[in-house]
């Protein structure tokens, strides 16, 4: 089963005719992802990599039955694209575009709360990947392999490196979810953890986090209340200092509980195992004895 994506998930790509959208659509199709339509305003009637392009989501879903979307494109068009996807009732919306203006994100988040049918992943998400079945986003497929470890991360680069190491050591993944690098995102770690908990194909969970924000603290609360599967946490940004933003919009120490130390303490007391390097993640996976395919 995996999480978020199943056998009847059919994607449309918003921004399919733009450079990034077109490039990654080809990659996703090559991976075997079910993409049935593309949407670019004013480009309806075109074809891209053998996929029909529509002017809007309504005509795309009527013609193809698409029920989920992946969004590429610049900031302003991505906000518009998300609202359209929500209003057209798509169930899963993955926004790869990052750097959405904060005031737009705040309104969007409030709008999503009132439209619970749609689950938004991102903005700033590298995507959702179910190894061997579907790659919805920009994750390089070669890092992943099929297995039982659920991986959730804010950082794309740390996740790629981590999954490549895990795969090499024989720990494949059930699903990878990139929750997104923006300060405000549609789906939190806590929600993804709950999905992994319910997923029979996932036996162990890796949470890759970073300095800044409260998402990892919320995840710790979720772990202590609901999660029975082993969770291994690896956080980056230990060397950050207060009020210096470390790349991602959200990666900044603003209060004492946004440091890596505070988050690790919360996760540890919730029962998560703390890894101090990606190599350490692999060692801990060996130690849990749950997730190896070998």
């Amino acid at each position: 089963m995996a999480i978020l994506i199943n056998h009847d998930t059919e994607f449309l790509v918003q921004g399919i005719t733009e450079q990034a959208g077109s490039f990654h659509t080809a990659q996703m199709l090559a991976y075997g992802t079910s993409i049935v339509a593309g949407v670019t305003p004013e480009m309806g009637g075109a074809w891209e990599h053998g996929i029909p392009v529509f002017d809007n989501i309504r005509t795309a879903t009527e013609a193809t039955g698409a029920n989920s979307s992946i969004i590429f494109g610049d900031g302003p068009s991505a906000v518009d694209a998300i609202y359209e996807a929500v209003d057209e009732g798509l169930r899963l919306v993955i926004c790869v575009t990052d750097g959405i203006p904060t005031q737009d994100s705040l309104k969007l988040k409030s709008y999503l709360d009132r439209h619970p049918r749609t689950r938004l992943i991102g903005p700033g998400s590298p995507g959702v990947l179910v190894p061997g079945r579907a790659n919805a986003g920009i994750v390089p497929g070669f890092v992943a392999s099929e297995g039982k470890v659920g991986v959730v991360s804010r950082s794309a680069s740390v996740a790629y490196e981590g999954m490549a190491l895990m795969s090499a050591a024989g720990f494949g993944q059930s699903t990878f979810v990139g929750v997104g690098s923006d300060a405000i995102v549609g789906t939190s770690y806590a929600e993804v953890l709950a999905l992994f908990e319910e997923d029979p194909e996932t036996s162990c969970i890796i949470l890759m986090g970073e300095v800044g924000g409260a998402a990892e603290i919320e995840a710790a609360a979720q772990i202590s209340i609901r999660i029975t599967k082993p969770v291994i946490a690896f956080l980056v940004g230990r060397s950050a200092i207060p009020f210096v933003r470390m790349g991602h919009a959200g990666a900044i120490i603003t209060t004492p509980d946004t440091t890596v130390e505070a988050k690790e303490a919360a996760l540890k007391s919730a029962g998560a195992l703390i890894a101090h390097s990606l190599e350490d993640v692999v060692s801990l996976l060996h130690a849990t004895g749950h997730a190896s395919d070998q």
Partner: protein, 370 residues
Amino acid sequence: MRLHEYHTKTLFARSGIPVLSGELAGTPGEARAAAERFRMPVVVNAQVLADERVFRVAQTPLFVEQIAAEMLTTQIAGYRVHQLLIEPMIDVTREFALVIEFDQSRGRVEIAASTLTSKRTCSELLDPFIGVQAYKSRYLASGIDLPSELWSDFVAITQKLFQCYVDYDATRASILPLALTRAGNLIALGGKLDIDDSALFRQAEIAALRDVLAENDLPSRQVAENVRLSRLPGDIACIANGAGLAMMTADSLANAQRALSPGAVIEITGEPSVERLQAALQSLPSNTRGVIINLFCDRFSASDAAKSLMGLLVLDSLSVPLVVRLAGQDAERAHEWLSAQPATLYSVTSLAHAVELLSHSLSDETSWQS
């Protein structure tokens, strides 16, 4: 992006928030000339992007000139002073702080008012769709013991501040201090607007106010397109393709036998082209003792990255050790190729090895020099 106080106050005035009208000076002579147009004493206010406000009171134009000469050659919290704001001094009985801010860690917007003397703070949550309801402002006003005859003025100021926050895509809008004058008026003596970088595409007027010179002193800034630098106190530069990977590289320095400390942490987005790598290496602070470049080759081949690295003109002039760690697609071949090149850099295959190698090469260097 942060706006200077004088820019902020210009925008405040446009929104109807009461401010003093001052004059900007870039030299001691200009400061003196400005002072001569005001009634003495005046306030000489250093324009820096730091959080604190630094000003001095002067009784004569000559003294203004002296103060200006000092301020323009000093640093305030690491920021050089390039401009001064000369303003008339007013008689103030009480001072407050008023801040509307997006709380990053909780993902919500708050308004807070506090008294500067007793440090009492009251705050209210704001709904992005609704803004500041008058009753919320009145809670704040009574919380800071503002006389009730000033409540309606205070409500108006909070609502105008929220309008600035929205109109200019701020992440933080502050009035500091909000002064109560002896004459019984509220006035914004100082203020700062922090603008959301992600929204600058629709804030052309604000983007044009960017002070590139002053931003060179900011600890976290864009140094070129797709190249972002965050400045930590140490002296080892960490360059990586991805914010998370750059942080991980910086964190790993502590694991060396002789621990190293990160200085410039540089994130390259997209492919690490010659131009981006060049921009990253050219932005290194002068205290840099060593460099790690850590690239996970996801959508490009490591061999291409290796060729870009060897094509860097700055490599010849780099006077500190450089360790390159390539992983991902085609990494082994790239490592072999790099290792066979004339030794301007070290090539390794693991991050832990990169850190150890750098640590050793730096301690060898020390022993060799002494």
